[in-house]
């Protein structure tokens, strides 16, 4: 395919950047859902991470401390969800939606004094001569640390879920919580830890938006990225590498259509621009049907509350 004046190397490099926030949030949500919990609060956790990371980075002058703060903040917000759904046995869908609403409002409140500030710059990692290599230099060795962290997380989650005892316990809890309980596994503890991990990842994804991708704090700046991340998990049928592929596909569509437009190509922009959202809606519709959920290999106990007595 002839890209004309579009440099494919730059395109691939920028699609990786565009995809990183949703990739981070999605890989966290994947672990949560594998444990049998459906947390629809990704958007809310992301935006709280975005504002906390931004505030911490501005206050301390260090983007790395900002990212750590976002991890803590995302996990802290998800703890509310864990408390509601695992301890108080509230409905997961309603609690997740409430978490999103809460996160959007709470972040706007927290962020009031941070509007219009330029955050400290997140430097790209220096790989020495490797970064100067043609083509691969820009694609593989020209990014900031979080792009590599996100790739590492995908590999780590894949390995952990498939090849470690802990990962198998988590999957057992997600597939059939009653059996897991009968075998003596601590269903609630596993689920709460999974929820915390999901919150931390979503928070980090949000911080990537506010510190690297945009970089600034604005109310409501996640603008639906959390929902795309949620859909991505289903789209990937709960498989880590497919989450990576899906995230880069979504990021790629977005970056490619903008670049094609900027280069003056005549493309049906409207369809491309809405495609991630259409896929998201389709996926959510599919999700709502029990039968298709089974064929997609959804975790057996997804979204169901666990009560030890039952």
């Amino acid at each position: 395919m002839d890209f004309g004046s579009i440099n494919p190397v730059v395109l691939i490099a920028s699609l990786m950047v565009a995809a990183t926030p949703i990739l981070l949030a999605a890989i966290g949500e994947l672990v949560v859902e594998k444990a049998g919990v459906l947390n629809l609060g990704v958007e809310g956790m992301m935006i709280v991470g975005a504002v906390s990371g931004f505030a911490a980075a501005v206050t301390t002058g260090s983007p790395i401390l900002g990212m750590l703060a976002a991890i803590v903040a995302g996990a802290a917000v998800s703890l509310i969800f864990a408390l509601l759904t695992q301890v108080l046995m509230a409905n997961q869908v309603a609690s997740g939606l409430a978490l999103t609403l809460f996160g959007l409002g709470f972040s706007a409140l927290l962020g009031q004094s941070y509007v219009g500030i330029v955050p400290p710059r997140t430097e790209k990692l220096n790989f020495g001569f490797l970064s100067d290599l043609p083509v691969v230099g820009r694609i593989l060795f020209g990014h900031d640390i979080l792009v590599y962290v996100s790739l590492f997380l995908v590999a780590a989650v894949w390995y952990w879920l498939n090849y470690t005892r802990g990962g198998r316990v988590l999957r057992a809890v997600g597939e059939n919580h009653d059996s897991a309980h009968a075998l003596g596994y601590k269903v609630k503890r596993v689920r709460i830890l999974a929820i915390l991990f999901g919150g931390a990842c979503a928070g980090l994804g949000g911080a990537y938006l506010s510190l690297v991708r945009v970089p600034q704090w604005t109310e409501g700046m996640t603008a639906g990225a959390g929902w795309i991340a949620l859909a991505l998990v289903v789209f990937a049928s709960w498989k880590p590498w497919r989450v990576l592929a899906g995230a880069y596909l979504f990021g790629g569509i977005m970056v490619l259509q903008l670049n094609l437009q900027a280069a003056g190509y005549r493309i049906p922009v409207e369809y491309l621009a809405m495609s991630p959202y259409i896929i998201t809606i389709l996926v959510l519709v599919v999700m709502s049907s029990n039968r298709t959920r089974r064929t997609l290999a959804a975790p057996g106990s997804l979204g169901r509350s666990f009560h030890a007595a039952g």
């Binding site: 219009g116 938006l209 991708r213 945009v214 903008l258 437009q261 900027a262 003056g264 049906p268």
Partner: protein, 361 residues
Amino acid sequence: MKRRELLATSAAALGLAATLGSKARAQTPLKVGFVYIGPPGDFGWTYAHDQARLTAQEHFGDAVETFYVDNVPEGPDAERIMTQMALSGANMIFATSFGYGPSLNAVAQRFPNIAFEHATGYLQEAPNVSLYNARFYEGRAVIGTIAGRMTQTNKIGYIASFPIPEVIMGINAAYIHAKKVNPDITLSVVWAYSWFDPAQEAAAAEALIEQGCDILMQHTDSTAPLSVAQQRGALAFGQASDMTQFAPDVHLTAIIDNWAPYYVKRIQEKLDGTWAADNVWSGIPEDEVTFAPFNDRIPAEVQDEANALIESIRDGSYHPFTGPLNRQDGSAWLAEGEVADDGTLLGMNFYVEGISGDIPN
């Protein structure tokens, strides 16, 4: 959050009215509701409306009580929110986005005593629906002139939201005036298909800079493109409010939406009982369209040229859409000296000659 607050306050207001009886009701302040498409903290479109709301609130003090609901999507949600506002005792409702039109008119027909003001709209199906708009294209003409003079690569990037007449009009105005001072320029338009999506807007800005554009304009509401421009060293213009703080080095000026005079005037009329539906389209002459201070990077002679253009629009001696102008396909639109009429502008669905690319449907 905000919607919940509204529910809570409306419930409280109902309870209060019931306990205090009709005597207290006579002294209640005029309640004015605002419906926003984005967050007031966007530093763009919604921010500008909210600043005007605050100015009006300060101006009237206790006589008026303003409140708002933010992030209201266009469509059924907007109708629900406006109905809720009406039921909770609003006397006047300002809806500040183009797409609220059908919902607003539907609600207005059910509440004939409430004054409805719709920004940038065109539907007027009830006697209590008033339309107001600003001639932003006048501002676009001015920044187009500055862009034409300042670009080194002769490539100007334009981040557009949706292909509606308002946006197309702005693209045309900017292009015509950039071309006038610099015949070599080309304009690249990127449609973001969103009014507010910082990540998408930032990516659009990156794509345009990557294509060699050294100066960016935007018709989207976030400050993200300015942050990108600042990082990449491209020049840019703010949208709707002064965005200098986001890009102190490269922010040349901004088109500022100054709604305050209109809001104060209309609320006063409602208080006086003289409010009547109208359809106004103000611009530079009425100070509804103003500019952020020019950046020192703009050479003095370019500043003078821009100021002269502003003055000629102010005194009415110049209209940004003055012939001869052709449509993109080469067919004649305006003859020599002919000025575009408002109807054509408000329904504008074509590029002027010289702009490449298609307008999406």
